[in-house]
Point group: D2
Chain length 345, copies 4
């Protein structure tokens, strides 16, 4: 199969390359970039020296659509809304890693993203790719909208509780912590090493674009409107997200019952690992891999459930889940190319 | 004034030395350690080379009590319960940085600390030293129990809301993040650099000893029983705590009203700084100092208040607040010796 | 092929597991540990959850030697001197990652390691496995002594210059910097996060055990006695070694000639990458992989050559090179199982 | 005394503020910036909240020269060459933290800095402020050129050996490692957290501007031309420089003799600390202070001396040394305002 990566020079693109490099069914990858056309990937990323020496190509959606079997869009806002249609028309399947196609309601998108939404038709066509919760939809899709990093960690952690109505959605609080690669490759004051090192920051309190994405899926599962409190923080580390989540239990439960529920619901999910009694994952335990590790507990004193979910934001939170979705879309095994052991320590 | 530090070789002790070094009214410091008696401080801490070359002395509470005006106990559990009485009898005032004297109810202590509590008499005598909320009590005390690091960040952030009954205590969630110095100087698997670096961990979920300490003070302020959800995390950084706190507002408020309340209640507090509209502190902004910086907001969508409170766990969360309390106990200005500018970046 | 790992719970062992997991010709791995017998690998390393749930077994060299095709010894000093013989007698090939068999002269070993050396017979049998410089010897060996991490980075960087007599060995200075995993998994004051973070340390100045290992190989290449100045440092990072090396050129050379020499001598080495003019590798550019990346220059002002060599100390500096050697010993392609792309960033 | 800081928003400026805040003889500080005129310091640096709320002022050298007793120039290349004259004419003393006035020979400056040099007259007037080696010159000066960070660590470490002709200058190699604040506050790809964290980089091999500055002073001390090999590296830490330096001893010496020499030559230097036998400083041991800590050894095997020198690049390597020089220029005690204990850990 032939793959094209549009927007290959961001972290999402680089991580797609790393993971696709070992994929048994991918025979060819082409790289496309508007800003760095003509440069070799290894110039932009010396860790790819001797591996990817060919030049970055221009973005011509018609040609790409014809030549590639599947196209990854790892692009800034607005780009995939523009290209997706043409790519599909010309025969390619498309996986969009940007946020353009995630929110189904145009006005919600426009209010949180503060820019024009993609067309309704495109939004309707796009399948939201939270793999473990939508395998059949994904297999049938030609246009996949890959979830955001925070929503992935959050929703995989909350899914069983919400779908089984075990948690009071009015009490839901998500306190999320991310490594800095979530902020992308462009240097900024926020992620300047001298000011991020040995520091811990909170940002976009109640204002993060991933809030409506989380709420949309929770609404789908619970069949009721949901508003969540979500607070993202920046950790002085490169990769990793931990979402610590809190809510009141709706009925009397034991910790074991909760764990069994998770084990059962995720029994066919190769990338979800539930920690044993009293154990919680740390972010490094999934480093470089597509795993989502989950720990959870019930506190009798407060009646609250606490769920801790960790992912590598660049893998399960972006490029890894995109390849997991590609595998389903192209008829491969779900975990092809994604069987790495976490890089620890 | 003459100061004695018992347990001088832990981080709390070393930080007392750093801060007392520049204190205008302290003329002499003696260091005491059972484990490293006879060694010089500079051997244990090369950063003190040429500064503190005298030997660590044995711990003889009678002599120390006679010779020192004030004694800091920066000791493991159980020690201050043993020494405090004798030190006071012999004329010294005592500031205890351990957790021995913080919880007023013996059974609560014994249930959370899993060891025998100090005597009731000693517990009754000990004044809890959350400086900004108990200045008069502290001035009058001879035996001060210095607050824990997490309770300090938490309670300073919640105080105005709780005392004004603006937050629903049944909905209170405290998600706390700490640098590793909170875990002390003894090497351990948890804080081994190779496994803590580039990693983010959660620990002691619903089980941390600081939970009853927080609840005891909240109960005092609110005159009702309170149970909180409190989750501590370890950040790959050396110093700093951020507590991100959530609760439902009990009445309709605006963000400005909240900020004004905080400004008003803390107007005479030299170490509390309230951030302006839409701004939140990061931990590095108080690095090495006794500041507690606070940001806060009200979210109309969810009806929740979010408060972000940061401190340096070794300063305001331990040795700095201890010196602030010492200043009050000895009749000095509250901020003597504590006027450093944060080390940034 | 069946593999046994003795001493599986150290970082070397864990990294062998990570890399062997994807090796196409390895069908079975057994884990052995004297200290943690009966525990599962995933207990010691939660990142292996669901992957390696079988128990660690005792160390019985006779049985292991019979059942395994190849045995990795990732053990403390003295152990492989004891076990290697029995393992080989019983039919296994052995790769020793400890330093026991690296130094050919017993008195040199005993002077630097301050303990008894292995027997002369064993030392004579053991082949030093700096892969790129001894492929034929390695293919023919049953007992392989895997090089130390610092010697690997140093010798791969110096090899072409020394073998071509282009550098004055009397002027050789090696300034080396390592991440903390080189110090192993046992917690210590040196690698306690609070004191290693945001810190840079020098250690074992002129006293590191890798000095005689470097000198022994340089002597072999140059056919003359060599004494080098070697200074190791600890960097606040988890993985990676950079060796910055200096020496006077013995004749007039240009930077291009040097680069061409390196390109030529390493043209069949899949894991050596030479940076282009004016470019130098950073440690992260080889993260998690078996690459050794090299940059170099000649300074006309001083007549000195500077060589910069980087590796991942746990991969090319330990377990990766061990697998590279295993591939040769078992007749596989040199790079089987080692084709990962560096994890960047 | 009244102080003006021109270029107050860079790290050098912020660090001057931190240190001058506690200086007993400074009554007033004004801040000046061309790029951020009208903004308050606390806007640019929230760690200064409530401390420095006044606005940054324009840069009018005439007015500043009249109103300030001493002016710090913490400015980009070219600026101090322009302003220094006017400031002095109007009565102020000037301390220049930029590199404009450090190199006495115009052609050397122009070749390494690739821009026009300051006027010869100004260069002649400027006194190079390596405090410990030029106290009398500094006391008499009105225009002080503050040394670079790398030259400070290097020259303080080499001074005794070079002035006593104990080291062969032809063999001198300086391998230097710096935290990232040396690269300033402007975000860049090099110091982007995601790529600097858990990474170690080498840069400007044989090309750093501090090379001629080091050589100029060594030449002055040795009365002969000197060319050194100097290699800077970036460490994933915020503050600190370690220079590891190597050279052949010119005569038979013992380690004790070397140590005694250093103790003797620096016996009146309050900020130089010599480590005892076999001990070496790490960068954190001087964190936030004006100390330069030195360890050294002689290796009989190689005949080489190794010197390890550490400083905080923002303090002794910039703003701290500038204040140390100010103290001498204004007739204060050398260590006024600089008596902080290192922030450790």
């Amino acid at each position: 199969m032939r793959v094209a990566i549009i927007g290959a020079t961001g972290y999402g693109g680089a991580e797609l390359i790393r993971l696709l490099h070992g994929h048994p069914h991918i025979t060819e990858i082409t790289f496309h970039s508007s800003s760095q056309e003509g440069k070799a990937m290894e110039e932009s990323y010396p860790h790819l020296s001797d591996l990817y020496t060919s030049q970055l190509q221009e973005i011509d959606p018609e040609t790409i659509g014809k030549e590639a079997d599947i196209v990854f869009l790892s692009t800034p806002p607005g780009v995939s809304a523009e290209y997706s249609g043409k790519l599909i028309e010309n025969g390619a399947k498309v996986i969009d890693l940007s946020g353009d196609l995630r929110l189904k309601e145009k006005d919600v998108y426009e209010s949180w993203y503060e820019r024009d939404s993609a067309d309704t038709e495109l939004l309707n066509e796009a399948v939201y790719g939270l793999t473990e919760w939508n395998r059949e939809g994904i297999k049938a899709s030609s246009l996949l909208s890959n979830p955001g990093c925070y929503p992935t960690a959050t929703l995989l952690g909350l899914g069983p509780l919400v779908s089984e109505k075990l948690i009071d959605l009015d009490t839901l609080i998500i306190d999320a912590k991310s490594g800095t690669t979530g902020a992308g490759r462009s240097p900024s004051a926020i992620t300047h090493f001298s000011e991020m090192n040995d520091n811990f920051k909170v940002y976009k309190v109640n204002e993060h674009k991933h809030i409506p994405e989380i709420e949309q899926t929770l609404k789908g599962w619970s069949e009721s409107d949901v508003t969540v409190t979500f607070t993202p923080h920046l950790v002085p580390m490169t990769r990793g997200i931990m979402a610590t989540m809190y809510g009141k239990a709706t009925m009397s439960v034991t910790e074991n019952q909760l764990r069994e529920l998770y084990e059962e619901m995720y029994k066919d999910a190769p990338f979800i690992r539930i920690r044993e009694d009293g154990k919680y994952p740390s972010t490094k335990e999934v480093y470089g891999t597509n795993y989502c590790d989950i720990g959870l507990t019930y506190d009798e004193r407060t009646g609250r459930i606490t769920i801790v979910s960790v992912i590598d934001n660049l893998v399960k939170g972006a490029s890894g889940q995109a390849i997991q979705n590609m595998n389903l879309m192209l008829g491969f095994e779900e975990n092809e190319g994604l069987n790495q052991v976490p890089v620890y320590p």
